[in-house]
Symmetry: D2
Subunit: 447 residues, 4 copies
């Protein structure tokens, strides 16, 4: 997934990038980095870890001189976790300084790889992002724009990228607009970031999304837009379901509002008669649960407390303390649950492992009945555009029927939001979203 | 404030202490430590930092051998932050191993200190806790119990203490029961901890509170209780308001339930006519806000998102980015707030600084009116029993009238819960709580 | 062993203490610390590790405010390596700030311990040093001097101590003067340190040794001396043999000069006829080997190179790489050794393990004959005054005859310096040195 | 400068590489790294810092699986100290794993760089080493050998390189043999390292130097040699003067023996009549000083003690403590120096800054006269092959006459070894050494 940010023409570029990455931390906790340009040189810092940890030392920000910056939060995927893959990637190209950040996944790399290697290219990372740079370096054309355009036209898949070439900046998004990327203004400069929450934090004004198939060139303080490909919007609907922050606006609509609608439509599609209370699995499904309660007789309550102190380095205790992982994260409010007919709202189910343990935990608090309502349709198919789902065999909804899932979780009922309900909630004609993880209807055939 | 735990007679004593401290992390983030006894020696680890960080290295837990353990979370007060003061304190006494953890504040130390020093005592820390040990060592009597009893009878103030003397354990609580301390059973052993949430995490069964003025001696696997002082319960009511975890039971009642009642009574005492929505300042006032909404026409909503990634080491940006501290923690959900008459529920106001910034932040989202409701009475007086309030001059309610506070915060109205409302919510005769921070009625005259 | 330093009345007290500890690093590498006093408070930093590592962060020195400082280098003994035992020890005594550093070992502690514990004393460390403080606190008398004097009179053994009591400083040395302790002047202030090399580094002028049984009180910028015990000098002769730095003056004589004389007398006592070359085991026996060569036909050479990069954390490779430990430290210069009749000079032999491996290493370079000459007599007896020798069973000279040692090391000859030769070299009447480790003639009967 | 090592076909490849780097630590302290290949993947660890520090964690060596390894010690130059430049460089090339280590400096890069960039190459580091890889990837030919040969033929300058291509290893040295590179045998495998001291440590048998212009290919356990260029030996004579370890054999001759001859010839060329003692600036000039003393009336002594504890992180004290840097490293043995006519032998003078401070320090010990003798000719010209001399303006011998240098250092006399004396000492026809830094006679014209 990842989060990206670009700061163009601001004297506190590094600090703004740092704060933006902090706001986008939920998009990637594996590692992060910032590169700046001061008119002459690139300066960069990147490492594994959270933003406040990587930049815990004030001198690191001070080192990042210049009015131009790129930043990146790296998502922890199952693949290569090498430090090498932490972005921004930084290069010397002829006498120029070149750097790049990228959010997304490319899908037609095999053929490109062979061609590049036959021309003598060596790959230093295992990340998609490096392809842009080699395609750029091998592309025809004299100017930065010409070469960048030629490079970008060769790749397919999901890409929201920002490149910095000396003091020029280039921003581009794939023709489907799969991952979000928005633009804002701060003082005399511009900010580009995955979500608007970064702009809120630094006090920038949100202008608009980068359009699918649009490329922006920033040079000499001004901004030029061109459409490098015909837009065929296919936004990732899972960004609304789970990934983005509720206080962000993505694809032109508030995430919070979308989730509230998921909850409301879910309550109407699959009500739970005579339920006493409804509560969420905090924090990602809070808004969906509130939406559900607003179209239900059941009272909204807080039935689960989440512990936020848990760190990466937590030592997991010995095997005879079962289900510890879920207990470290959640505890029940027993007085709220006891003897009640309860509805638990969650945003989505992937493997179902955590939810199964959570149900077991909740049962100890003595509810009369447990009904699960999920604020999105069953996840049945893999994603080729950057969402790190497990293999189909591990997706519970790919392997089991609704009845079997209910059995497996040992609950009184379970219902998902329908695909139509999901699309109704997001306010735009159906065709504009990629729903492949729910429906198997992929944007294009993958090699 | 601090959190304490004792594990008596369990082969995973160190791991259980570790998990308990993790559950009690909210009671102290300055530092933490564990000491164990294995029949022969004491083993301990303690340092500044959060529990998962101090014990990030698995070898530290492995080092803590034995079936007996004490643990402590240290609260960050304005005083001495030296590493020396991190508990448990560990001593060699004659041929025995002695250690102690303590939650609370003693109030009659001046005289005791002089007496001890005149007898040749040297103090190594600046914490109250060391007094117990010196009083113990100077006390008459032959047995551990006799000497411990003699020592404890000399101190006044708030103390929930656990001592370990070789394989014996001693648990005691002051006659007012100011700080919580509860007892549970796990397998063949016992656990003592500040709150029940620690027991929930490790799967122990909650038995009861330690009574005010009660001392327990654990020896040879069994437990003996004696009443060393006449109980005059004066539980700290602020534990319900803010300090304890909502999923804990303290002083015999669920914290969550108490907070919900604070909200309900507050809604009845000080309703906001025609309010559209009510939301909390997350996370400590979530339950209070839900209670409020249940006795109000206003709909419960999530109007503020809290960012949980913020760490100690966060680099605060330059001065021209004002109000950054509050923005790093909170962001508004603008769609929820815009054009609405809103009620913001918070648990308490101390200085008012954060709330003022928060109101400013919320205003940017364009509400029609802002009404503040506080789930506790005005905090006007200092606490001598361990709550780290600032000086009276810094307590906004000590310096300003309600009208002035409203003016200061620039809101349409502000109301607090009444003292009577607070006491009504906690289900027991009025006299059983210390309400000195609200009323100035202290338990005893402080020297 | 340990190294100690006190800085009295200098505005860069912490920096001078830091530099002095750096110069005294050879006296202890286990840990180090500094405490300062600024007229009001004590400030201290101490930790495991070398001086440049413990004080790697400049802010630590900045934190140590004031014109008065004590410092300590801790020697790694086989005993308790707890962080607690790292000095200076720092205490609050009544309304005063008290701290202490100590080099030596006390020998009559059992009885004192019982008396103190019966009076209610609790020991927090397992180091001798804490006894001074408790004796001080329990001593009669009103003034700091009276109490300190009373305390010091109760202990026996080796002690070079410096105490800081608010802005007063007290320096004392046992009546035998077992460990070195010298005094110097820098600007308007004084420095006290184990060896003179610390004074050389900071540019202080060496004044004299503290006399055996002398106590100095520094107050209001001036210095008062009193003799608290009858001096019976018994300086540790092993300080000359191995422990002190060659560029220091201790017990009033240059270490380097003493070692050169050891070598010269050794060459005269036990010459090696027709030897081609003589070389040292670097670096501690370099001077002794030079001395030897100056009274021998054999040419001085460098036959062994020492690698100085080895750190504490060196990972020792698998078992099938034998003798690696000695090879990591030393390599031979084969061209110097091949076909030669060589004399290897070492300062002393304790277990003989390293020397045995070294001989094996040297043999690979193809010498014609190997003769070992040791710049001190056979170490046969344990030290009760702070030299960390192993048990008698592990001392090779206690277990084997000279012939057996020769056999064991597989060399052509081995000879030690005689006790008389040793004493002749150090220029003063025989009775002034403790030679117990060589002769078994202890200063006093040990309990 | 740097140190390199390759281990071919040994089951403890990583450990052997680690120990070899430790032995070669003197060739580079900026950073180090190891890469291994286990038949399928590359594994690598590299970081800033000394070998024992970078590999302080045992798990890092365990991670480096396989029977093939490359290692590198990076020298701290004035240029780019980025972590990126730490070797080995590791790449994916098509489906193969490729890595490289290099010691030396290339001199014809400008033209190559332009050609490569015009073909679309992006440089990720600023080190020479990356050129080999891009030339390799762009070279014609099908096999690894063909392509590697084509790449190597394009570069000029000093290079001792080892490449690993899956389980194949390639070793090559420039036609002048500027930097040392030797070959040894250990069990069934081979070791290649900059100096023989690495072989001594791990117990490998030294076989021979790699010849100038020779390339070795190791494949399927055996070794093939080819001469890719006509050998014109021009070994760096400064390796003997200063850089290599005295216990190594380089260019076929013992470093120690060379240095001893420098000292002897120097003593004959520029004797000091009636000198009392001669001592070295430890440790690099120890052997030269011994050689000097063997052709002189003056006695060899140790006049300076070197402190080995100094670390990188040493906090330098405030400005009013002058000359501290040299005092932290050295102290004088005053008894040796006082009232003597002394000769100080140093290996070389670059800027003269340290020597000036050292002379000042020595003067405080009260010598009668100070005579400096330098075991190499005046360094007057820059090195283009990897020796990090400062600019000509900073080379004291380039700016001042001998008389002026004597004046500047404030000594009684100073003499250098003659160029002819230097060449006489190293036993081979003159033409075989590069003496450019002394004479300005460069091997080839530099662009």
């Amino acid at each position: 997934m990842c989060g990206i940010v670009g700061i163009y023409n601001h004297q506190e570029a590094a600090t703004l990038a740092y704060l933006s990455l902090y706001a986008l931390q939920h998009r990637g906790q594996e590692g992060c980095g910032i590169v700046t340009f001061d008119g002459e040189n690139n300066y960069w810092e990147k490492d594994k870890g959270l933003v406040p940890d990587v930049f815990a030392d004030k001198s690191k920000l001070d080192f990042l001189k210049g009015n131009y910056a790129l930043g990146h939060n790296r998502y922890s995927t199952h693949g290569d976790k090498s430090r090498k893959n932490i972005q921004p990637l930084v290069f010397n190209y002829k006498d120029s300084k070149l750097s790049i950040v990228h959010n997304g996944n490319l899908v037609n790399l095999e053929k490109i790889k062979k061609e590049l290697e036959d021309k003598g290219t060596i790959f230093q990372t295992t990340s998609d992002t490096e392809y842009f740079i080699h395609l750029f370096a091998h592309a025809r054309g004299d100017s930065f724009e010409e070469k960048a355009l030629a490079a970008i036209k060769q790749v397919r898949g999901a890409f929201s990228i920002i490149m910095m070439y000396n003091e020029k900046m280039l921003v581009a998004r794939d023709c489907h607009g799969i991952r979000p990327l928005c633009m804002g203004k701060i003082d005399e400069g511009y900010i580009f970031s995955s979500e608007t929450c970064a702009m809120d934090l630094i006090g920038a004004d949100y202008l608009r999304e980068i359009e699918p198939g649009e490329m922006l060139i920033l040079e000499n303080g001004s901004l030029k837009s061109l459409q490098f490909d015909k837009p065929e919007p296919k936004h990732c609907i899972f960004e609304y379901v789970y990934f983005s922050r509720p206080d962000s606006i993505i694809f032109g609509q508030s995430v919070d509002k979308s989730r509230r609608k998921f909850g409301k439509i879910l309550a109407m599609e699959s009500p739970v008669a005579d339920a006493d209370i409804v509560f969420s699995v905090p924090d990602s499904s809070n808004t969906t649960a509130i939406g559900f309660s607003q179209r239900s007789e059941a009272r909204y309550e807080i039935g689960l407390i989440r512990n936020h102190y848990i760190g990466r380095s937590f030592i997991h205790p010995s095997q005879n303390m079962r289900d510890m992982a879920v207990k470290l994260k959640f505890n029940t409010i027993d007085g709220v649950i006891k003897d009640k007919k309860i509805v638990i709202v969650d945003d989505s189910i992937v493997r179902g492992t955590t939810l199964k343990k959570l149900v077991k935990l909740v049962k100890k608090a003595g509810p009369r009945e447990i009904h699960i309502r999920i604020g999105s349709p069953p996840v049945k198919y893999p994603c080729y555009y950057g969402m790190d789902f497990p293999s189909q065999e591990e997706l519970i909804a790919n392997q089991k029927t609704l009845a079997e899932i209910r059995e497996h979780l040992k609950v009184d009922s379970i219902e998902y939001l329908s695909v139509q309900g999901l699309l109704d909630a997001v306010d735009k004609p159906d065709c504009q979203y990629c729903t492949a993880c729910f429906t198997g209807d992929y944007i294009e055939k993958i090699q």
